[in-house]
């Protein structure tokens, strides 16, 4: 009977100890009063989400006063769900309830609207503040990105996960055809024909796989100094240049039969299966190229009269609803995430572009480029990057032009009519000024 009370004492002590460990182990969010809790909403899922999570964890470890709670808001089980749309929807819904996140990924056309309803704090305030950037740090960011984030002479957001359109190509197929990556759009058309290999009716290899989308339309338009909207935000694509542009893609498919128009993901598969020798996409598809069991290369998109390439991806915004402490903490995080070291790591691990020139010059990135020499094409393209329109209705206009391209390529309308109708709808709905 002696051991029994002893045993219980021991057990209770162990339990108490275990309980304390459990308490210590589980980090309560928000934890202590001294810590500032910052929410960060994004749409980065999968591998990219994992990389971002690791970066955020590293920040939290190294910044004891701040806890950044990152959350992938864009996730959904639904088929055909759009991660970024879910993100924007969540932002707006919570903004309407006056409970937005402290930091979020935002597209340029979202920013336009968020600024208008006073939802954001301009990054400029922090950049010029005490903990801000010095002039070198600011100029270090690629000018085209800064420009895209500047509204009314103020920097409102900062670039985060940016990518640029490039031409992926099958080096083996090119070798067989004794071809080099096309320098101009005219060359690309000839090359696509040359690379198309068919046996009877069956096409073994198409020259090109591409998504017949607004972005595709934009590549050619930008290359010939056109744009979707004029400087005064009027419809600028239903003109001679636009007609030539859409005709180019229609000809590739319907005249030359050298290109496969497919949704981007499917076009990628055709490229991976060596069913298409070229593929136009952004650098964000880089990691998918691991699946290619052939030599692939990356080249800048062809040029027209000029070199001009569309870029994509979101920026970071800080919301005005947050308390001053949270805003400052949010800025600390944004500044950290976009510093040379972290933007380099982010770029290397995801295929997004580093947002700083110093990152491209960094030892790590140079090593990365040595390992992936193809990626220099992307960095070179960056000098000629062009931002798409930032008007609030841009997303819908994109869809309308997408549909026009499909209608033209599938011969439901003549290319000219497809574009004219698209312009008509946009104008009639007063979707541009």
């Amino acid at each position: 009977m002696h051991f029994k009370p002893k045993f219980f004492t021991l057990l209770s002590r162990m339990l108490a100890l275990a309980f304390i460990f459990v308490l210590l182990g589980s980090r309560q969010i928000p934890a202590q009063d001294s810590q500032v809790y910052v929410t960060f909403w994004h749409a980065m899922d999968g591998q990219k989400g994992k990389v971002l999570r690791e970066l955020v964890e590293r920040f939290n470890m190294t910044h004891p006063g701040i806890i950044v709670d990152e959350k992938c808001v864009g996730k959904s089980e639904r088929s055909f769900a759009d991660a970024y749309n879910i993100l924007f929807s969540s932002i707006l819904e919570n903004l309407a309830m006056k409970n937005p996140p402290d930091i979020a990924q935002v597209y340029e056309n979202w920013t336009t609207q968020l600024i208008e309803c006073g939802a954001l704090v301009p990054m400029e305030n922090f950049i010029r503040g005490q903990q801000g950037f010095n002039q070198n740090q600011l100029n270090d960011i690629f000018p085209v990105f800064l420009e895209a984030n500047t509204y009314g002479k103020k920097i409102w957001t900062l670039p985060f996960n940016k990518s640029i359109y490039v031409l992926y190509y099958n080096k083996d197929a090119f070798w067989r055809a004794n071809a080099a990556p096309p320098k101009t759009w005219t060359e690309l058309r000839q090359l696509a024909r040359k690379l198309t290999v068919s046996q009877g009716d069956y096409v073994q290899q198409y020259g090109l796989a591409f998504d017949p989308s607004v972005d595709t339309f934009g590549h050619w338009l930008y290359a010939y100094e056109g744009n979707f909207l004029t400087k005064s935000n009027e419809v600028g694509f239903n003109n001679t240049l636009g007609y030539k542009d859409i005709q180019y893609w229609v000809d590739l498919v319907n005249t030359d039969h050298s290109a496969l128009p497919l949704p981007s993901g499917e076009a990628l598969k055709e490229f991976q299966n060596q069913h298409a020798a070229m593929y136009i996409e952004t650098t964000s598809k880089l990691s998918s190229m691991e699946k290619c069991n052939f030599n692939w290369g990356m080249a800048p998109l062809p040029k027209g009269s000029v070199k001009a390439y569309g870029f994509a991806g979101t920026n970071l915004a800080i919301f005005a609803n947050s308390s001053p402490e949270k805003r400052q903490a949010a800025w600390t995080f944004v500044k950290w995430l976009l510093d040379t070291e972290n933007t380099t790591e982010w770029a290397i691990q995801t295929g997004y572009l580093p947002v700083r020139k110093s990152a491209v010059e960094s030892f790590q990135y140079k090593a990365y480029l040595r390992k992936n020499p193809e990626f220099t094409a992307a960095i070179d393209s960056l000098q000629h990057a062009i931002c798409q329109p930032r008007i609030s209705t841009w997303q819908t206009i994109r869809g309308i032009i997408n549909d026009a391209l499909f209608e033209a390529i599938s011969k439901k309308k003549t290319p000219k009519k497809a574009l004219d109708d698209a312009a008509k709808v946009i104008i009639s709905q007063r979707y541009v000024k």
Binding site: F80, L92, Q113, C117, P263
Partner: protein, 450 residues
């Protein structure tokens, strides 16, 4: 003189308590087209007589189109400068006189009989029908439940009696058999019994509870093709034979001011004849196959195929795709609108499709339904979050839309601001769109009956 009399009508209508097409009681001003009474409820506003477009089009034997987006009204493809009027109930009404005059007709106020008389240049060709419905309630197809959106259009023949009803053989009995196989193709029933068959023609779809704010009438794009310009020419020869023999001899005054439930709808017996071939909006099979629209028996079977092709877009036909244009190509729009204090939502068209952009296919056993819609901020405040749309089918199963296939993107709406686009839903083959819900903040979901 005309102005004064029309003012009188206006007063009369006002005295009746703001009668509108949806709510008018018996005692409304009768309308005669070439001496034949048509069953409509005129709304007179600022001295202008407004009539429901489809009935008017039918009785004039003309096509009336209204493009909501561009605000263009056309009769027989001639532009009319007058603008339609949308009463609070949401049904678009068109200015009758301007339309009649455009095609060389006239509209007069007959003080003696207190009636509006419309004369068309070719009285003989006008297909104005007296209030004689197609016969026999029993055989009348049971389509209303199908499509609660537009009772004004889908209205089956009411239990009215007339000489024509008695004298004419029942055309529908003969029609049912040949149509059946097609109906089966599009209505994979099996576990899901065809609800239309069980329906009786006298039971009208009653508005679901909680949807009082919605209207059953179109707002926005409307279009009606009359026999004279119908785009299915094969129907033309049949049209005259469809007119009851006593069409011209109806004494206007002799028409009783009926007030049966059917009467409060804009029923016009001739209407469906052309509305269905061109109505590519609602793809319910039985809708066509069993409606009184299905033409008289003497129409050759080849003709029956025509509406099928235009309506159902069967596999093999050119696939319909979300189009950017506010659907000029289809001849009939029966948009529905619903409002609350914050938003007004209008569905302007519905399409069913088996592929989208020639590429995207639904899961096996599923299909795509595309809803074209616009959403307006009718409040005085900026609406940051404009809500989320979902669709309910006939058995109240809810569906989210496929964002990547749709083109409807959230934007912050200023007062008066409009967002538009289309939503694509992936639904089981046997699902029919019943309601569209808008879930916005701090308010009950806004519901539109489809």
């Amino acid at each position: 003189m005309k102005k004064t009399t029309i003012c009188l009508i206006f007063l009369l209508i006002m005295a009746l308590g703001g009668a509108s097409a949806a709510t008018a009681q018996s005692g409304y001003t009768p309308v005669y087209v070439n001496g034949v009474r048509i069953n409509v409820f005129p709304v007179i506003r600022d001295g202008v007589v407004f009539l429901p477009p489809y009935t008017l089009a039918q009785s004039l034997g003309a096509s009336i189109k209204y493009d909501y987006a561009l605000n263009i009204l056309k009769i027989n493809d001639i532009m009319v400068s007058a603008t339609p009027y949308t009463p609070p109930d949401g049904q678009v009404l068109v200015p009758a006189e301007a339309l009649c005059q455009t095609i060389g007709g006239s509209l007069e106020w007959d003080g003696q009989t207190r009636a509006i008389r419309i004369t068309t240049p070719r009285p003989g060709t006008a297909l104005a029908q007296p209030l004689s419905p197609p016969p026999a309630v029993a055989q009348a197809p049971a389509m209303p439940a199908l499509n609660p959106i537009s009772p004004a259009i889908t209205e089956p023949p009411g239990p009215l009696t007339s000489s024509s009803a008695k004298s004419a053989p029942n055309p529908y009995l003969a029609q049912e058999a040949p149509y059946q196989p097609q109906a089966a193709t599009y209505q994979p029933s099996g576990s899901n019994p065809n609800p239309y068959q069980a329906q009786t023609s006298s039971s009208f779809p009653s508005p679901p509870s909680g949807t009082s704010s919605l209207t059953y009438y179109p707002k926005g794009i409307i279009s009606m093709t009359g026999p004279a310009t119908t785009n299915t020419p094969s129907y033309q020869p049949a049209a005259p034979s469809y007119s009851p023999p006593d069409a011209g001899s109806q004494a206007p005054a002799g028409i009783p001011q009926t007030s049966s439930p059917q009467d409060t709808m804009n029923y016009n017996p001739t209407m469906p004849q052309t509305s269905f071939p061109s109505g590519s909006i609602y793809q319910q099979p039985s809708y066509t196959s069993k409606s009184p629209t299905s033409a008289p028996p003497q129409i050759p079977s080849s003709v029956q195929q025509i509406p099928q092709a235009t309506i159902y877009n069967p596999p093999g036909a050119a696939p319909l795709t979300p189009s950017n244009t506010p659907a000029f190509s289809t001849d009939i729009f029966r948009p529905v609108t619903a409002n609350n204090a914050v938003f007004s939502v209008t569905v302007t068209n519905i399409e069913t499709m088996n592929t989208i952009k020639d590429y995207y296919k639904p899961r096996p056993g599923y299909k795509f339904i595309t809803l074209y819609l616009s959403q307006q901020n009718v409040s005085n405040e900026v609406q940051i979050y404009t809500g989320r749309f979902s669709m309910l089918d006939q058995s109240n199963t809810s569906y989210d839309y496929a964002e990547q296939l749709s083109n409807f993107w959230l934007i912050i709406l200023k007062p008066g601001g409009i967002n538009f686009g289309y939503l694509v839903f992936e639904v089981p083959q046997d699902a029919r769109p019943a309601r569209l819900l808008l879930h916005a903040l701090n308010q009950a979901p806004l519901s539109l009956n489809l």
